[in-house]
């Protein structure tokens, strides 16, 4: 297994370089004027900008190898360039936005996975009866509901509606003041974790209040997929001989499901779940927008709209690493869930 992981780690840099070259090449297909959209973001900014001067100044007309060389040279020196879409250096933007999305993804991941598995198990065990139907309808409604609709509905009920419990944003004014003060140490950039590490329960509770609604939205709109996979996988497993054998040995139904059937049924869930979580971290655009969380997803969209090369390349690099790591994790999880799987 270790040798397998080692081999995958060696291949990873080549995969990343490949991804970057493809994206860099695609960006070079744009005309110099189109590339200028990175620097002039709206018609209002045209004022006094001599277009030809800017094209020359930023080297937008330079040959592809010159631009690639410049970019690679910067990356070697850990300089990912300036992100016009974030109005700060790209690396700094990444470090600022990553913990935001990561925190939301972490808080959503557990409910998504556990909720999906639980709902799938409930549906399969109650195959074709009322509970099965209700569970599936509940999940499918979530799947069909666009994130922005679910988000806004929840906000309208739980903030400024029936009750005023869960405000948008990441922190309230008072908690924000504490977090920005010198007495509060930033360890991870994730408010809930930093609050615990600072032993500040006021900030922790405030951060939790702000994360509950987006985490619910993230979970609810994603449960259906995992539910369906878990349900069909568990149904198939429950029909297998080893389950019949377990039952015939007189094992309680709960033990049959929990100890024997569910573990086997989890294999396809692990395949989908791993990739699902990898995408989760940068697929939060709508939820981040509705709940005013300025994370990676929103940044990536802005960068794409503006052809912000520095940000897009850094983002591609991050996604490459994320997917390779996610795939590797799934492979390792296979081996754990199914002892028959080996990679040697």
């Amino acid at each position: 297994m270790l040798a397998y992981i080692g081999r995958r780690m060696i291949i990873m840099p080549f995969v990343l370089v490949g991804i970057l070259l493809i994206i860099f090449g695609m960006l070079q297909l744009l005309s110099p004027q189109q590339k200028l959209a990175t620097f002039i973001k709206s018609p209002a900014e045209l004022k006094n900008n001599d277009v030809e001067v800017l094209i020359e100044k930023y080297g937008l007309n330079d040959p592809i190898w010159a631009r690639l060389g410049r970019w690679l040279n910067d990356v070697i020196h850990f300089n990912f360039g300036y992100s016009e879409s974030a109005s700060m250096p790209a690396a700094e933007a990444f470090l600022q936005f990553f913990p935001v999305s990561m925190e939301l993804a972490l808080w959503s991941a557990l409910p998504i996975i556990l909720g999906g598995i639980w709902l799938g198990t409930v549906a399969a065990v109650n195959h074709n009866n009322v509970i099965d139907h209700v569970t599936r309808v509940f999940a499918i409604v979530g799947w069909s509901l666009p994130s922005f609709v679910a988000g806004l509905l929840l906000l309208m009920v739980f903030y400024g509606g029936l009750v005023n419990w869960f405000p948008p944003g990441r922190l309230g004014l008072d908690a924000s003041g504490i977090v920005q003060s010198a007495s509060f140490t930033r360890y991870t950039g994730m408010n809930t974790i930093d609050a615990v590490l600072n032993w500040n329960w006021f900030v922790f509770w405030d951060a939790v209040k702000h994360i509950i609604l987006p985490a619910i939205v993230m979970s609810y709109v994603r449960w259906a997929m995992l539910l369906r996979i878990m349900r069909s996988s568990l149904l198939e497993t429950l029909r297998k001989d080893f389950v019949t054998t377990a039952r015939s040995k007189g094992l309680e139904e709960g033990k049959v499901i929990k100890k024997h059937a569910r573990r086997n049924a989890l294999i396809p869930v692990a395949t989908i779940g791993g990739i699902y979580l990898a995408f989760l971290i940068n697929g939060l655009v709508i939820t981040e927008t509705i709940f005013n969380w300025n994370g990676l997803g929103r940044w990536a969209v802005r960068a794409a709209q503006q052809y912000d090369t520095s940000s897009l390349l850094l983002f591609a690099l991050f996604n490459g690493v994320l997917l390779v790591v996610a795939n590797l994790s799934v492979d390792i999880l296979y081996a754990y869930l199914d002892p028959r799987v080996t990679y040697d």
Partner: protein, 636 residues
């Protein structure tokens, strides 16, 4: 007896219910003030790029430094708060002292002309003014501020506004090349030449004279005072000692080039003042969470009474519904919104909405391109009559006039601007008095006249053979989309042989088409850098103007022959009457030759909680940022 007891109980409970409802109703009218010492603005705006006043050329960053830094003078402010609208109280042509003790005028002798025609502005500087770090304000700080802006001159930045009046050049690089060097490019000039340019042009332009600062202009430049006024971040006074301490330009001739155009104007973070601020303003920077939030705290040693508010927070909330919920809850005191959401804001309780505030902009306006390239340009179809347009389609003034007269101005005001639009002439905005030509009737829709003009245009060929062209708009801009569709609908009504297609493109493609002069007709807008007619006359009517430069050689010729002499006349004198005459004539000729025409202009809006008091108003500030020094929160 039993019956009486029950009746009394029912009566008592009913009474209590009525009282409770009444009290609840009262409470609803005056809900408890949230965060009474903190003002929260939920903004639409983009992300601030830097806090360096010399770099900033965007509204969001400018709104931040406006609270922190101060200028030599400021515009008088009107008021639009919870109780009162005094939009008329503002002025764009008068000034009040800020860090100067007096506003220079010819009458008080602080503006004078030398024998060789140079104009000197003298600003006596206030004493006992502290920067946020405790340093005293001195005239040297003022001199350093302006010299730094001039040598900094980042690509695409605002320094041209200071350089132009003080040196006659829009860029310091051009100044070096043109005045002291034989080289063709700045990069080829020698160190000695650069030092010489500094010593002969930059340094003498701003000098300390006792407790005053003297600005020497090579020739009259009427907008000069507007360029210095508060809100103009490039003229915000910084602390020389502090700036040098944190790594900014040391103020010497030998070193200026090292601090010129850092990062090629591409990397604001390369400036040492990128994320630091130290002004004399009523609020200090507490925290800048980039892209999310800016927090200011009250400056207790402010030279006037400290501000009423203890804290100011700008929160960037991209989604309108979320902003609205925050304002509704009282977690925000004001918010920005685009006009499409006006009906929703109108329904909000405990929110005061102003919707007829004056604006100073020329946005949107429709521009024609003459001599449009027809090769590899799908926007002009085949490039000939019938299924395209010839290159000189808009060279004929009758075509341009016809397009200006088919536009359904009133429908645009009613449907797109929710009634908050007004007719105007171009290129001077209606609120830029006294330079707007009141006697001139703006274009109105007249389909018969338009039909007649198109019948006569191009010797009748246009009418006979018809045409087809495409109008682009940058996707997401609904106002431009609808304006384009309105032109399409009206033109196609005139003759079945006329066809206009409307297409959305990404901003990058739009920019490419614009800068290559490929769009036969484009809709774009302009907001004021500084409130002076020159800031509109030049980009719209100057032969090298921002827009006219993209409109083909025929329009450039028109600008050169018909408009440029008037633009120079308007700029060459400080006499208001003479300027007015020049700009009146410019507007008249502009309407006749119609290189572009203004669509209805939109009035400004402001939504604030009913507890916001003394909120100033001036159209040069964004309505939801404004200048927050006098603001407080109460119901009295």
């Amino acid at each position: 007896m039993d019956y009486d007891w029950k009746r009394n109980l029912v009566f008592g409970l009913s009474f209590l219910l009525v009282i409770s409802l009444f009290v609840a109703g009262l409470a609803q009218d005056r809900p408890e003030i949230k965060n009474p010492d903190t003002f929260v603005a939920a903004t639409i705006g983009g992300s601030a790029s830097t806090l360096d006043p010399a770099y900033i050329y965007d509204t969001t960053s400018s709104a931040i430094v406006t609270q922190i830094y101060e200028n030599l003078v400021r515009f008088p402010m009107g008021k639009a708060d919870a109780n009162e609208l005094n939009a008329e109280g503002y002025s764009l042509g008068e000034f009040k002292p800020m860090l100067a003790t007096k506003v220079p005028t010819r009458e008080n002798g602080l503006i004078r002309t030398t024998d060789d025609g140079k104009v000197i502005y003298e600003f006596p500087i206030k004493t006992r003014v502290n920067f946020h770090n405790g340093n005293d304000l001195s005239p040297e700080d003022v001199e350093y501020t302006f010299e730094r802006v001039m040598i900094y001159d980042r690509t695409g930045g605002p320094a041209w506004m200071v350089l132009q009046p003080l040196t006659g050049y829009k860029s310091v690089e051009t100044l070096v090349v043109e005045e002291v060097s034989e080289a063709d490019k700045f990069s080829e000039t020698t160190k000695e030449e650069r030092i010489k340019a500094y010593n002969e042009y930059i340094d003498p332009a701003v000098e300390v004279d006792g407790g005053s600062v003297l600005f020497t202009l090579p020739e009259p430049y009427p907008p000069f005072m507007s360029i210095l006024a508060h809100g103009a971040n490039w003229s915000a006074i910084i602390d020389k000692e502090w700036a040098i301490e944190v790594g900014a330009w040391p103020g010497t001739a030998e070193t200026w080039v090292d601090y010129h155009d850092p990062g090629g104007g591409q990397a604001p973070s390369e400036s040492p003042l990128y994320d630091k601020a130290n002004g004399t303003g009523p609020f200090k920077l507490e925290n800048w969470d980039k892209g999310n939030e800016v927090v200011f705290t009250r400056f207790e040693d402010y030279w006037r009474q400290p501000a009423q508010l203890e804290r100011v927070v700008y929160q960037r909330v991209k989604e309108f519904s979320t902003r609205k919920l925050k304002l509704k809850d009282g977690a925000a005191d004001t918010m920005g919104f685009s006009l499409q959401f006006l009906p929703q804001v109108e329904e909000m309780k405990n929110v005061k909405l102003y919707k007829e505030l004056p604006t100073v902009a020329m946005n949107p306006a429709a521009f024609f391109t003459t001599d449009v390239p027809t090769e590899n340009n799908d926007l002009v179809g085949s490039g000939t009559w019938g299924d395209g347009i010839p290159s000189d389609f808009f060279n004929d003034v009758k075509v341009r006039k016809a397009f200006a007269q088919v536009f359904p101005y009133q429908s645009f005001i009613d449907e797109i601007q929710y009634g908050l639009g007004y007719y105007t002439n171009a290129p001077i905005p209606k609120n830029m008095q006294p330079f707007y030509n009141q006697d001139l009737e703006p274009y109105k829709q007249d389909m018969d006249k338009a039909k007649q003009l198109l019948k006569e245009a191009h010797g009748g060929t246009l009418w006979e053979k018809g045409f087809q062209l495409t109008i682009l708009y940058n996707s997401g801009n609904n106002q431009r989309k609808t304006a384009s569709q309105m032109i399409e609908a009206m033109i196609e009504q005139l003759n079945p042989k006329f066809e206009i297609k409307v297409r959305a493109v990404e901003w990058s493609t739009y920019l490419e088409q614009l800068t290559t002069g490929s769009m036969p007709l484009f809709i774009i807008g302009w907001a004021a850098d500084f409130p002076d007619p020159h800031n509109f006359a030049k980009p719209f009517a100057g032969p090298k103007g921002t827009f006219s430069g993209f409109q083909g050689k025929t329009i450039i010729e028109i600008c050169k022959n018909e408009f440029e002499p008037l633009i120079e006349e308007g700029l060459g004198t400080t006499n208001t009457e003479e300027r007015k005459e020049a700009y009146y004539e410019l507007q008249k000729r502009f309407k006749e030759l119609v290189p572009s025409f203004p669509l209805p202009q939109q009035l400004g809006t402001r939504a604030i909680r009913t507890w916001v008091q003394d909120a100033p108003f001036n159209p040069m500030y964004e309505p939801w940022y404004s200048w927050l020094y006098p603001v407080s929160k109460s119901y009295e």
